[in-house]
């Protein structure tokens, strides 16, 4: 028996994920606020629907919207997914929202007899389209088993992190790890640099070793050129650390290095790097090392 899939929200990320299901021959109904955006997916074989509630007839509905308010509206708002006569058996939310918003939506879904998986994604739309996404999901184990075949089409890794909102916490862990990595990188880069090695040579070497992540390799050129055009600002990184360290406090987990980086981020905001890319932590570090940092052009 065929499983009917629905996809709610076909922005860049949604289109990349849904596109993989469609290309794999799945039966996917799609909805988007701006209907035109569903066009390319329909051309690849998806069915267009006019109302969110129309997706109620699907067995599993995936969601990618831009934040907690949109999520709450499309799920339990007046014209949301739970407002129709038919309801899906399972909703899988691939958006990035807080654990508390996630818990509210889960409660609403469960009250309506609908299972809920919180399934945030790591990867940008380009990587995702190429099959490089990583998905961490939490919710009932049975729901995860049901969704797994589709998650495996959408992503190269799909893991089950727990029965409740653990996947949201895992995403925060991912972000904390990134922030620490950046500070680690700028510390050793300035050390090599002050010793007389230019940044490009150092980063080429480090980038070749098994210690370097793909993220480090990609961003090395920006670090070499001190190009702080924001991909993600220092202030946004601070927001991730706010949430991550709040979770750590709540769970009573000490984060000695995480907390040290948090204060360095705070200080970077104070010295004027708030709206620059968070790689600009380099500038703060370089000043402390007495390296002349030319003002950005």
């Amino acid at each position: 028996m065929t499983t009917n899939l629905g996809w709610l929200g076909t922005g860049r990320m949604g289109a990349a994920l849904a596109g993989r299901l469609i290309d794999a021959g799945e039966d996917v109904s799609v909805w988007n606020r701006t209907t035109a955006k569903t066009g390319p997916l329909v051309a690849r074989g998806a069915r267009a629907t006019g109302q969110i509630a129309d997706l109620g007839g699907c067995d599993i509905v995936f969601i990618t919207v831009s934040g907690p308010r949109d999520l709450e509206e499309v799920v339990y708002g007046e014209h949301g997914l739970l407002s129709g006569k038919s309801k899906p058996a399972l909703v899988v939310d691939c958006s990035t929202v807080s654990a508390s918003a996630s818990a509210r939506v889960r409660a609403a879904a469960e009250a309506a007899g609908v299972d809920f998986l919180a399934a945030p994604v790591s990867g940008n739309p380009h990587m995702v389209a190429a099959g490089g996404a990583c998905i961490v999901a939490s919710g009932p184990a049975e729901s995860f088993r049901r969704a797994k075949p589709y998650l495996d089409v959408m992503a190269k890794v799909a893991v089950h992190a727990g029965e409740a909102e653990q996947s949201r916490l895992v995403k925060l862990c991912h972000n904390l790890y990134l922030g620490i990595m950046v500070q680690a990188l700028v510390e050793v880069t300035t050390l090599a640099e002050k010793g007389g090695t230019d940044r490009a040579a150092f980063l080429e070497f480090l980038g070749g070793t098994v210690l370097a992540s793909e993220w480090v390799r990609r961003r090395s050129v920006d670090l070499v050129e001190r190009d702080w055009t924001p991909t993600f600002t220092t202030e946004l990184l601070r927001k991730d650390f706010d949430l991550g360290l709040e979770a750590a406090r709540s769970l009573e987990v000490p984060m000695p290095v995480g907390a040290t980086v948090y204060q360095l981020i705070q200080s970077a905001v104070g010295i004027g790097l708030r709206d620059a890319d968070f790689l600009s932590l380099y500038d703060q570090q370089a000043r402390g090392a007495g390296l002349a940092v030319e003002p950005e052009e």
Copy 2:
């Protein structure tokens, strides 16, 4: 005109590097204290030599020995490379030694009219044999240019870090980065774990993302199983931090996160993890998080 190459010290790392030159058709003379170890290389096409000084007839001599004393002995000891009538134009040391030992050997070589490249390697012998080595070299730019074609056969990345002992510092930076990333890893892992996600699931997810290095992926299984069989002990990591932070102090580079990790390593030694693999920083972190850590079997 052919360049004659020499290889002094054919232990596991030397054999892996020299083997790549031999397989590429280079003319390589080899010497090892235990002559039998050169057998496999000779079988692949290398020439055996009886005395270190016999390598003096080569244009470039590469060295891989196990530490600073051996290096000093094989270069300027009584029967060392500089003791013969003929001397090579260039010596390339691929061993891991301190900047000060490196500087002494360089001075001795230069006094004898021989150029010197300090060229430590990142990678284990298995990776190196497969072409995955990364080499960071320092010494005269002209020497680097001369050695570059051979370094490119030996390694996938070979960079020039400066005219003096910078390559030794870069290697220390590499090790500091590793230590910081281990602590980062155990902090976020315990956070996810205390939130209810098992280590294996968390590490599978993180390992799939662009934030994970190959090193993290490889060691995840040990972290999942709390297998602290030493690959590199906590005490040895402390030694690397001793050297790295001493260099940072000397160059007046602040290392806020590096120093925090150094103290955590010190504390891990204090609570009994001295001789365990340095991944056992997990145990210290887990105790601070109030997670029950079963004693190792």
Copy 3:
């Protein structure tokens, strides 16, 4: 013209502060939930009152209650100070409450035409009775000027910290400073100790120098004897750091050492020191230093 003073809440701290005013010949009306507690003050010359609202006839009413709920109730509760026909011109709250509770009470007072000073006290009742209190007050400058002569009778130091809730923040700063001092103390104590100096000798020396605060001198005996009978638990110190670092985050002030201590407190909670006196940070430090710490009896 005489100023009539009122004192609302005559527990240990209130009695110590009010007692100083009474002994100085001021006209003080007192109220306490448990009327009997006002007896000793009445014996010294205070007037007893039956209802909180009776204090409305005073020019200035001081308050010392045990927390934000009590404060809100005695000020703007049904039978509170603002419920009577007469209202004081100025209320001076000497309790320890959060900035947000303080702001609510201030707003209620001002809405009723009553000025409000937030004036928390540093010092224990014994010290306070002997004139050793320190008071930090915030609210309108004019109100501070009006209260100053009485604050000077009550305390050896009384400063004006600002026009709003600054005094609450200053109290948090005081607590953060204390927590850092304790960790600093246990670090250097274990260092001296591992070098072969016994704790008592070290602390006697340090206690004699200009670096030691009276607090350090007083608590040295507990540190020598590892007497962790709680005067203030590790968990309560964490609560102070929660509030202090939350304020720092909100004001965008980096706290590199404060945050490091916060994580050490968190870790101490994790290893089982939650309910011990916060001087037990010593035990965590001693373990990290590999010193044998005998279990407490």
Copy 4:
């Protein structure tokens, strides 16, 4: 039977300490490189001597010289204390020197049959003259017992820290504690300040509480006025931390807060505060907090 005392080196600190012995009626022979400096002490009752070796006839000789080289010279140099026919039974060095220099001098003294106490002093000459010195001594317990009556005349506190060079380590602990407390002070001061409390009010309050040391009270005016006229530079504080953290490393004692402060000192050097008073850590902290710090005049 009278004990004859000698005092070698009567600079400001030596004169303050020796003066107390003389005023107490002790029989004190004095020597100083610049003989004129002994004049005031002779006027108070000391005996002048022409040669260092003349002090060999004393029972106990105290030393206050300006560093390790002077100490070594006056003790075991060609014309030093050990060069004469008579030798004292006990030498008590009140200078500030490293543990290693102290150990060398001790060894030389003991080889000559002379006991040695390492007895550094905390306090400036003004305080010392008024009886406010604190002395920490190490060496044989019997030597300490012998010197104790005189140390008690010289200082308000005199403790025995161990049988070897522990007193030198205790002095380093004292300096580490000072550095940490300065950073603690500037963190909480900027927090209060950014919240709207002026520095003078905050420091007046804190200075009144039991948390404040005499040192904090004294230096508050400099902090209020941002007067960084050096009493002790940032670079000198770094030197103390170099030694203190080196000792901690050697003894395997983690110093999480000490190490954090060390890096902040390093960073302060990097941003230009090297030669300013170490209270200028305030400026670094204020910048990180986004407070406008007016350039010093």
